[in-house]
Each structure stands twice: as C-alpha cells, then as structure tokens.
C-alpha cells in the first residue's frame, strides 16, 4: 500500500499513544471495531473542569491508516469542547491523511470511537454530577 507522507508521519511517530484510567470520572473510553475484522481502536479522553478535552490517548490494532487516523484524531480533539469534537467528521481525517478509498473506513472508525468515548464520559457524568456538554 502506498500511503501519503501524512499517514507515514503519524504511523512512524504516533501522537498520544497510551491509556488513561478507565475508571476515573473525568475519563471517557470508546472502543470501536473487532479483532476479526482486523481493526480495533480504543480512544480515551480526559475532560477538564472547563469541559475541554485536556488529554486524548489511543491504542489501535490495525493497519497503517487505522493507526494514523487514530493519531490524527487525538491531535485534532485535544483542547476542544465535546461539542466541537463531535463536529469532526471522518471525511476531514480521510482528506488530511489522503487515505486511499479502500482505507476510508479507518477514518470512520476514528469518528465512531470518538463518539463512543464522548458518550461514555457523558453517561458517567450524568450519573455522578450531571455534567456534559
């Protein structure tokens, strides 16, 4: 697969790899994909007192474009409000990484994992303190 320089940049030096404490109230965790399909993306966000995404971390099982999509996603959402983060679409990631058509689903995974992480954070905080967007 011939990838763009952008994909190779993120693949070679992935940003924000790691894990946050899944149990912490200010952390939302989203996982998308399945091992059998060859892609699993785990995204975690930590939301600060102002409602901004202070930290984003990922771990991804998958090909180069799945890893690059995850890495770019964490860069893009850090410092954003949850509402701003939700505006991010997979098309933007696919465009920036110049993903080949057959790999566009990798950017969709990133978007889905993000939605799921935000939902997880909101569900937790609805229970605990009623916080949210």
């Amino acid at each position: 697969m011939q990838y763009s320089d952008e994909v190779m940049n993120h693949f070679t030096n992935p940003r924000n790899v790691g894990s946050l404490d899944e149990k912490a109230a200010d952390v939302g965790t989203g996982t998308f994909g399945s091992p059998a399909c060859g892609d699993v993306l785990k995204l975690q966000i930590r939301v600060d007192g102002q409602g901004l995404i202070a930290e984003a971390r990922f771990k991804t099982f998958g090909c180069g474009s799945a890893i690059a999509s995850s890495s770019l996603l964490t860069e893009k959402i850090t410092g954003k409000t949850l509402a701003q983060a939700l505006e991010l679409s997979n098309k933007e990631i696919a465009r920036e990484l110049q993903l080949p058509p057959i790999k566009v689903h990798c950017s969709v995974m990133a978007e889905e994992a993000l939605k799921s992480a935000i939902e997880d954070y909101q569900a937790k905080n609805a229970r605990h303190s009623g916080g949210g967007l």
Binding site: V40, K59, C63, G64
Partner: protein, 436 residues
C-alpha cells in the same frame, strides 16, 4: 550493452557480495524471485542478436531461435523427469493452470463433468474451477486439516464416474505445506482420472518426478525459480492422447496447437536455464535455506511471545515460514519494518479486505489471520540478512504491540492466562518468554 547489464547484476549482490545497506532484505521469494544473473546472461543474446522467430525455420535466424527453444524444452523437462516433447511453453503458471483445467474440461466433457480440487489451491486453479461451475461442471473443493493437509480417503471418496480431473498443488504458496502427490497420482491412475498438479511453488525446491508421481499435467512458472516473469510451462503427458487438453488460444498452431502465438524466445531460454540451475543446486540450496528459515524462526520465537506457526511443521517447503503474531495486524507490522519485504495474510493487504482464504481453510480465526506474515527465503539471501530481518521483525512486532489495545487487554492485564494458552499454541518450538 551486455557489459552494462552484468555490472548491474554484480551490484545487486547476487554473486554473494551482499546487497547495499539501503536495500530491504527480500524475504518474499514465494511472490517472485530476482532473475539469476546466469539466467539473464543466457537470455541476452536472444533480444538483439539472435532475435529470430522460432517458427521461421527456413532461415538461420529462425533456426537459432528454434534450437534455443528446443534446448530450453529439454532443460525444463529434465527438472521434472519428463520428455522434452511433453513441455508446452505458456505465459506462466496461471495460463498453464487455465489450460490444464479448462482445456481438459472441454476436451473430456463427454466423459464427465466433475472436477476435484482443494480449498487452498492457488486462485488460478480455484477461479478456473469456479468459471467451469458456470458452464455446468461440478467441482468438489476438498477441505484441509489445521496443518493444511488433505485427507486422501476423502479424496478417494469424492471420485465418481463423472470425475474427469483432479487438480491438487504440490506445495502451498502461503503456508508451504507439501501434498502427497505420489499417492494422489497413484489414486488418480487407479481411478482413471487425469491428475493435474500445480507445482509452481515446489519445482526447484523439492524433487518432482512426473513419472514417479503419476502426474498427467503439471504447471510451473519461471519467475518463482529465478527466471523472468511472463513465462511458464505446462507438462502434458504424452501417452494419453485422448486426454490432452483443448487449447485456449488459437492462431497458428504453435506448441503443437496447445498454445498458439509466437514464442517468447528469450524468456523461454531464461526458463530453461533457471530450471537447469535448480536441478544443479536444489539439494544444496534447500538445505541452506532450510537452515536459514530455522534460524529466523528461532530468533523470532526466542524474542517474541504469543506467536503461532501456520501450516505443517515438517512437511513443508524449507524456505517458507508463515507465522501469526497475536494481537497485531500484518500490514501494520510490515509498515513498521520497511527494511524487510514479506507478505501478510491480513485483510488490509488484500484487494477484497478479506483475510487469507488459505488460513481460513485451516481454521485459523480471522483475528489471527490478520496478524500473519509469510517469510519466503530465496537463493540470494545471506545469513546476515536473516539476522537483520529477525531483529527488524522483533522490533516491529514490539512497536505494534505497544500500540495494540488487544495486547494491552490480553497480556498486560491478564498475563498468566495468556501465557498458558501460548504454550499450547506453539508447536515444536521451545519458546522462551524473556520479558513482557
């Protein structure tokens, strides 16, 4: 001109001097091989100097070409213990497989409409069979066991009065498992069914004797044995005239009518020389590559846990290793080791986004097929390259596991459980777990 070519070959390190450090270690010889300089040297005169049409035997140009082709026919035949007259030159093993299967089906359709093949054959065989299914032929796709082995009893049971052809490969291209072709040939002979063997991966690596193995039709390709791309051969047994396949390509009656079209003389000369070299070097070369692949496996398994070897451990081509690295995806691993060229059974490396159908047929779960890499060693690999490749693989798998949520969940959080299952999953290899 000739001198320039030779210089380039020497620069490629094929004379044993080793490749330039910037070039990746090539461990994808089951996909294709570099042309051996001795093969290229044999071919070169047939481009600009002895360029005649092998069919133009009324002048010297044509006669020279025809002689060269006849010489190559003998060289190909010699490698598989056939007669020169039983060799038909084609554009490669895909075409040879097409002629063998579709041509035989057409020729014998009055006798029957049933073909037996196997689920892990090459696509050139499977797709030819699928095509015939649209033309009212019936095809039995025999399953294999978890090591890629056929059940001969099952093969025998599958044969009916309508069976006209059995098409079984000599050795599998993804896992290297070798089939008992002599037994299959004997069975086919007993049942009066034609036996076609796709020996593309096996010729030049293990001895293949069409007489001993009772093979009626055999496909081979030049570019898997250090010859040029775009040329291959089909062996068609002489003594069964009524069974010989109908041609797919008409137009001039070249190759006794089996395959019309002006012969690609330089490529055929290259195929011949490549076969000759294989015959001369096979034992020494397979011993050497067997040692190298064992070393590669040892270095990897000493340093990487949670690996599985796909295919048969002993009954396989010595130059080929197919290993699943659990919790990582093959394309990612390959991307993380640009200094090593291999293949993967991962969906991400296929056009269809499906994992390897061969590994699926072995019962390998998709998540493990995604993490498989095929290492296929070749004539020009050096031991130093094997050491370098092993280091790169170890590093790349570690890098991808550091990124993997599956590794994190399974190993970091639940170490003991997976360590136990790992011991069962690795056969015949003592695996150490240096560090997790």
């Amino acid at each position: 001109m000739t001198r320039k070519f030779k210089t380039n070959n020497e620069a490629n390190g094929v004379s044993g001097s080793g490749r330039g450090s910037s070039r990746a270690v090539y461990l994808d010889n089951a996909a294709t091989t570099a042309v051996d300089p001795a093969v290229l040297e044999a071919m070169l005169p047939y481009f600009c100097d002895q360029f005649g049409n092998a069919a133009s035997i009324h002048h010297d140009f044509g006669c020279q070409a025809q002689q060269a082709v006849q010489n190559a026919r003998g060289q190909v035949a010699g490698l598989i213990n056939a007669n020169a007259g039983e060799i038909v030159f084609t554009s490669g093993a895909t075409e040879s497989n097409n002629i063998a299967i579709k041509g035989s089906a057409e020729k014998l359709r009055d006798k029957g409409n049933h073909i037996i093949t196997c689920a892990i054959e090459h696509k050139a065989v499977l797709d030819s069979c699928k095509y015939l299914e649209t033309r009212d032929f019936e095809v039995t796709y025999l399953p294999v066991d978890s090591l890629g082995m056929l059940d001969l009893a099952q093969l025998e049971e599958a044969i009916t009065e309508k069976t006209l052809l059995i098409s079984i490969m000599a050795a599998n291209n993804e896992i290297g498992t070798i089939n008992p072709i002599a037994e299959i040939g004997a069975l086919a002979d007993r049942c009066k069914v034609l036996f076609h063997c796709d020996a593309t991966q096996a010729v030049g690596k293990i001895p293949i004797d069409v007489q001993e193995c009772g093979i009626d039709l055999l496909s081979l390709s030049a570019h898997k044995i250090y010859g040029p791309k775009g040329v291959g051969a089909l062996f068609i047994r002489r003594n069964r005239k009524e069974n010989r396949p109908a041609p797919l390509i008409h137009g001039g009656g070249h190759e006794k009518g089996y395959r019309s079209g002006t012969l690609n003389v330089p490529a055929i000369v290259g195929l011949g020389r490549a076969c000759e070299l294989c015959g001369e070097n096979m034992m020494r070369e397979s011993e050497r590559l067997g040692k190298f692949s064992q070393k590669l496996l040892r270095l990897i398994s000493e340093n990487v846990d949670h690996i599985r070897i796909n295919g048969h451990q002993e009954n396989r081509l010595g130059n080929l290793l197919n290993i699943t690295f659990e919790f990582v995806e093959g394309e990612g691993v390959m991307l993380a080791m640009p200094d090593v060229a291999v293949s993967s059974g991962s969906a991400c490396t296929s056009e269809t986004l499906e994992p390897s159908y061969v590994l699926r047929a072995l019962g390998v779960p998709d998540e493990l097929a995604h993490g498989s890499l095929r290492f296929s060693l070749g004539r020009f690999n050096t031991e130093q390259e094997i050491d370098l490749a092993a280091q790169s693989v170890i590093r790349a798998v570690k890098k991808m596991r550091d990124l993997s949520p599956l590794y994190e969940a399974a190993v970091i959080h639940d170490n003991d459980e997976f360590r136990n299952s790992n011991e069962e999953s690795i056969t015949n290899e003592e695996i150490r777990n240096p560090k997790l």
